[in-house]
């Protein structure tokens, strides 16, 4: 009799455990342990500052002191390159834009995140949670870091006031050899975005999902621009863009707020805007690799990057929008007006910003009649443009 009762108890406990187990998606951490002492990150440059560039911008050292996790970070040149870095298996996670997060989630390179283990997640603006670029079937796959637009920048002494992207497209001939362009196949979307406004006959509905005809028109626009000898920068060489603008080697191009801030700090005569057509942009997410060697440190880092101090500093440093009111309040103390300037809570501002996303053969929709140029096609087209 007693043995039967014990068995029943064991069975019911087993069922409860099994039920708990299935409530968590596979690969999700269910309990936070001690930090492993090390954390290896793939980052967008400027996302893990330890004070070596500017002593006042340091959110790595406090993290290392608090958790004992020593941070090593590698900057990516562009999203696809960052994705390959993560896949090398050397990293615990990283900060990724939407055109890497969608591919990483689909391929299973990143694990779902148990946000219950991250106290700071509660503070994050609701509008940034459970978006297509940071969740799959309603399960969060990461935590927001910040967002921002790709901007048009020009030298105010050499170039007249600009309101649209025409300066780097139709009028590129005015700036022969002085154009500064993002060196990535992802820049094809910027051409498509301009065509959305100037060539309505093409019927482009998303700069990332282009039919062959729309794609060819974008490549044609780029080829015309390339006739004027643009200079190139990437996530790995963005400091060269700062140097080139400061020296006057380039006078107009695309940029991030980060370079604009650096140039402004040097007193360089530059101005940057979000042009009338709208722009491409990014909303970045910290994700954990599914084979992370240091998952506890990665969780601690994700929580740290949502804290008011770290998120406030990081977003001020890069010039992007913070992810919580607390971070906004902290940012105000080091850069007054930061949240207003970066439109952190100004949703209408983001309506014409197309977050980076990956080109798909099925155009990413249900309609089986249309096919789009896939990402391989984008890479090949960029190779052709750059190599010819």
């Amino acid at each position: 009799m007693r043995s039967i009762r014990t068995t029943a108890l064991f069975v019911s406990v087993g069922m409860v455990t099994a039920a708990c187990g299935t409530s968590l998606p596979s690969g999700m951490l269910d309990k936070l342990g001690e930090g492993e002492g090390e954390l290896n990150l793939v980052i967008w440059a400027g996302y893990a500052e330890d004070g070596s560039a500017y002593p006042e911008f340091d959110w790595v050292t406090p993290f290392e002191e608090e958790t004992g996790c020593i941070v090593n970070s590698t900057p990516m040149a562009d999203s696809a390159a960052g994705m390959q870095l993560l896949r090398s298996g050397e990293y615990d996670g990283g900060s990724f834009s939407g055109n890497a997060t969608d591919r990483l989630m689909a391929a299973g390179d990143v694990a779902p995140v148990n946000v219950d283990l991250l106290p700071n997640y509660a503070n994050v603006f609701a509008g940034l949670k459970n978006q297509a670029h940071n969740s799959l079937d309603g399960v969060p796959y990461g935590v927001p870091h910040g967002r921002g637009p790709n901007l048009l920048i020009w030298n105010t002494e050499e170039v007249d006031e600009q309101t649209t992207w025409d300066g780097i497209w139709e009028n590129a001939g005015d700036y022969e050899g002085k154009l500064s362009i993002f060196d990535s196949q992802d820049f094809i979307a910027d051409a498509a975005l301009h065509l959305m406004a100037t060539r309505e006959d093409l019927g482009i509905t998303s700069p990332y999902q282009l039919t062959q005809e729309q794609f060819d028109a974008a490549i044609e626009l780029l080829a015309a621009q390339f006739e004027h000898g643009p200079q190139f920068w990437s996530g790995a060489t963005f400091t060269e863009q700062i140097t080139a603008f400061a020296a006057g080697d380039v006078t107009i191009g695309t940029t991030w707020q980060f370079q604009v801030n650096s140039l402004a700090a040097e007193g360089a005569p530059v101005k940057a805007i979000k042009p009338a057509e709208g722009t491409t942009g990014w909303s970045d997410t910290w994700m954990i690799a599914s084979d992370a060697a240091n998952p506890n440190c990665m969780y601690l880092w994700m929580n740290h990057m949502m804290s008011a101090e770290a998120n406030g500093q990081a977003t001020v440093y890069f010039g992007e929008a913070p992810t919580s009111q607390q971070a906004c309040d902290y940012a105000e103390t080091i850069a007054p007006g930061h949240c207003e300037q970066t439109h952190a809570t100004d949703e209408p501002y983001w309506e014409d910003i197309w977050y980076w996303s990956t080109a798909r053969k099925d155009c990413g929709d249900e309609d089986a009649n249309t096919t789009c140029v896939d990402y391989d096609g984008w890479v090949e087209a960029w190779t052709t443009l750059r190599g010819g």
Binding site: A77, A80, A81, M83, Q84, R87, R103, A106, A107, Q185, G229, Q231, F232, A247, D249, T358, R360, K361, D374, Y375, D376, G377, V379, E380, T383, T384, R386, G387, G388
Partner: protein
């Protein structure tokens, strides 16, 4: 010498021969097995680690990758990567550019290296010769990257070259020009050309030159009909370095020009996860270099190394 054998009855109480001892005795009688065991480790290294990894890399060329996730589908056989490379002219343009640069650098290095090597081998005093050998080797002590960055500071818009040229009304080349690679490659690989030619020239006996002069040949004829044929294999040996190093390099074109070489396309594509295309394109420089080595062997270059 004390007999080490344990077979003697006087050593009946000694322990049985150790395992190592028995293996050694067994091996002693089998020299071929000894050789096989000796070579097993390095051969295993060469075949598995070196050739094996290369083979897996090249196998990627015959597989497909998922265009969305970018993951390679192993054993999903396809020739798509080759179709892409043969149907798009850009890959041919880049191959021709790279090959042309490799030939140009080799010829330039040979023209520069020959007089230097000749002076070192046949004219300079022994003291001077030693100094020159050190001088030629010296740049090899510095890191390759440091030297390229040094060239960047020379070439860039506000660099040393621009400063020197400014009084003549000429602007500097900047770091975008294709021909910068020619300059930097020639600088980088010149020692690899000088040293084999120097060694080749040293081996030419003076008696042959004297005999040529005795038979009435002028200096030019002696050079053309005696020196050059004797040193030619050494020249080819040097060219193996200058040619194949240029063919495979992607850092120089990236840092001092904005032109894409074969190596850049392979690097870019693999960094972006386009492994089948990268692997397929990798076969091109491999085939070119293998062909070059076969020709070089026929010309006797390997005896001159």
């Amino acid at each position: 010498m004390v007999p080490m054998t344990t077979e003697g009855p006087s050593l009946a109480s000694a322990p049985a021969p150790s395992r190592a001892r028995r293996v050694a005795t067994w091996l002693h009688a089998r020299p071929r097995t000894q050789l096989r065991l000796l070579l097993a480790a390095p051969l295993l290294w060469l075949v598995l680690v070196y050739i094996g990894s290369l083979a897996i890399l090249l196998l990627n060329a015959f597989w497909t990758s998922d265009s969305f996730t970018g993951k390679v589908n192993p054993f999903d056989w396809s020739l798509d990567a080759f179709v892409q490379i043969f149907s798009n002219d850009v890959y041919r343009t880049i191959a021709v550019r790279t090959l042309g640069m490799a030939v140009l650098v080799t010829v330039t290095a040979a023209l520069l290296a020959f007089p230097i090597a000749y002076y070192m081998a046949r004219v300079a005093s022994p003291r001077m010769r030693r100094l020159l050998v050190v001088a030629v080797l010296m740049p090899l002590w510095a890191s390759y990257l440091v030297k390229i960055f040094a060239w960047r500071t020379i070439l860039q818009g506000n660099g040393v070259l621009a400063w020197v040229l400014a009084p003549f009304g000429i602007s500097g080349p900047g770091t975008d020009e294709l021909m910068n690679s020619w300059l930097v490659f020639t600088y980088l690989w010149l020692p690899y050309m000088i040293l084999p030619i120097y060694a080749g020239l040293e081996r030419v006996p003076s008696s042959l030159l004297e005999a040529s002069a005795d038979l009435g040949a002028r200096a030019r004829t002696t050079f053309r009909r005696v020196v050059l044929p004797l040193v030619f294999p050494a020249l080819v040996a040097g060219s193996i370095f200058t040619f194949s190093l240029t063919l495979g390099d992607y850092i120089v074109p990236d840092l001092v020009s904005d032109a894409k070489f074969i190596g850049n396309v392979i690097y870019d594509n693999s960094a972006l996860g386009q492994f089948p295309v990268a692997a397929a394109y990798s076969m091109l420089p491999i085939l070119i270099v293998v062909g070059y080595l076969l020709v070089a062997r026929r010309l006797g270059a390997f005896e001159s190394l």
